[in-house]
Amino acid sequence: MSEATRDEICVVAVAECFRGDGERLCNPIGTIPMIGGRLARESFEPDLVMTDGFATFTTSCLPPGTNPYRSDDGRLQVDAVVEYWNPYPQMFTILWNGRRHVMMGATQVDRFGNQNIACIGDWYRPRAQLLGFRGAPGNTINHTTSYFVPNHTPKVFVEHVDVVTGVGYDRAAALDPETSRFHEIRFVVSNLGVFDFDTPDHRMRVRSVHPGVSVADVQAATGFELVVPDDVAETRLPTDEELRLIREVIDPADLRKTEVKP
């Protein structure tokens, strides 16, 4: 097995976000998040429940970008093992019920984990319209959320996000304690490292840096001051078995390399 590349280290770092989740809906959005979620389920977290990206929960290990639906002589067929029908209206019920851990992207994220995917600039007259709020407000206030950022720069890791779509820890702290009781931003994984909020006031902390990346590199690519513990670990390398699963089973088309350069 040739050495692990940065994209594969990111995949394993994403998989680690779901460690300990057990029988929960693991719902990563994006290419590397999807590969990482699948890897977690194929290895150390086998009870995870995952979607096909559309309207079912499937036990099949679908490669990212797969659309399993087709017409068979006018009848809908799904080329996957379906364990549950989960159309969008049902997804909202699932997420309000709480047994879900979503990993979303972030156009901007700040030190308290506030996320923006809506637009850049003033919401009333945006400089660049993006996705809108989508499901971010409901996700973040109802269940565990993590983020994946494939290009860690000061334009993404900002002092203040332009619009709060996903709720961060300072916003959650301003709510009644019972209102925010399901709020948890667990991890942020980027192409440079892994970050958590395990600090007294829930400021973003460096949890690990990827091999070949220094804490100084990470700080220089971040638009606010990170909390840096005395000893910063290095993100762990994939095992040989994990590399085999990533390369041969989950992502044989190497789509992960289009999201993070190796």
Partner: protein, 295 residues
């Protein structure tokens, strides 16, 4: 007993709509949109519409053509092209008013309207800028004790989204307006049909009621004629959005549509070729004749 016959044409539907109406459009992103009725709206003089949608090219077209005054959405996306370029342009140029809700909050708004209550409570939105930028969305305090026995929880009161009319597209329907979806997801079409004063349903095929069972099991029958005022038979009517299992998305056409947002000239060209046509039949003939656009 024979069921009532509510069949009409796309242009008949548009004749029932009025300037300034709030119109819900079913489907999701670039999936199973009632595009033939949207195209009929584009051919009409209708204006100042408020559009409620999990938006796709329906919203983009109504923005680009100046028909939409306001858009209430959970998002506006073309799926394979994540950002809807015409909606983006309208937002960035300030030519449309927006209400951008959390996706689930939009569903609750439709449910509240369907159930004829003024709002439904939800945690979604608390702590986010949904409440900051849209102060018309209010909160409500639970009259029941909180989980710790103290004061009741504060929740968002997702406002009812009452629709003057809803437009939805189904795979099959009978002439009375019972609808059958054969794809993976109904989306919010059922809630749209009940949130609206009047719902107009287009379908790939209008079939006798007794033939529904040949196409799908009872679980596929989710739109009742109780909530449908008119039925349009519209083969390929969702084009260029997907309508599985009848057909997939016409990605080549969608690319051409998205490219038409690049400049006023590009939009004029698209309009001239695909929208300024006399009828839906002309559109379908032009699509069928298009070279290099095979699905």
């Amino acid at each position: 007993m024979p069921v009532p016959d509510k069949r009409l044409t796309e242009d008949d539907v548009v004749a029932e709509l009025r300037d300034g109406m709030t119109i819900g459009i079913g489907g999701w992103g670039s999936r199973r949109k009632p595009m033939s009725i949207v195209r009929a709206i584009l051919r009409s003089d209708l204006r100042d519409l408020t559009v409620v949608s999990y938006g796709g090219p329906d919203v983009g077209l109504l923005c680009a053509s100046g028909k939409a005054r306001k858009v209430i959405s959970g998002f506006v996306s073309l799926d394979s092209i994540p950002l809807e370029p015409h909606y983006r342009a309208a937002r960035q140029n300030g030519t449309v008013e927006a209400m951008e809700l959390d996706e689930g909050m939009l569903m609750l708004g439709l449910m509240a309207a369907a159930w004829r209550v003024p709002f439904l409570p939800t945690r979604a939105g608390l702590g986010s800028d949904v409440l900051e930028v849209m102060p018309e969305i209010r909160t409500v305090r639970s009259p029941y004790p909180g989980p710790d026995g103290g004061e009741g929880e504060e929740l968002v009161a997702a406002p009812a989204l009452r629709l003057d009319a809803a437009l939805i597209h189904q795979n099959r329907a009978d002439r009375a307006g019972n609808g059958q979806f054969l794809g993976p997801d109904l989306y919010m079409d059922d809630w749209m049909s009940m949130a609206a004063e009047r719902t107009f349903l287009s379908a790939e095929r209008v079939i006798p009621t007794e033939e529904f069972a040949e196409h799908g099991r009872i679980h596929t029958l989710r739109i009742s004629r109780l909530h449908v005022a008119g039925v349009v038979e519209a083969p390929n009517g969702a084009h260029f959005t997907e309508c599985p299992p009848d057909y997939g998305r016409d990605e080549a056409f969608q690319k051409e549509y998205a490219a038409s947002a690049a400049s006023p000239e590009a939009w004029a060209g698209f309009r001239d070729r695909w929208l300024d046509l006399a009828s839906e039949a002309d559109y379908q003939a032009a699509v069928a004749a298009r070279t290099g656009g095979a699905r």
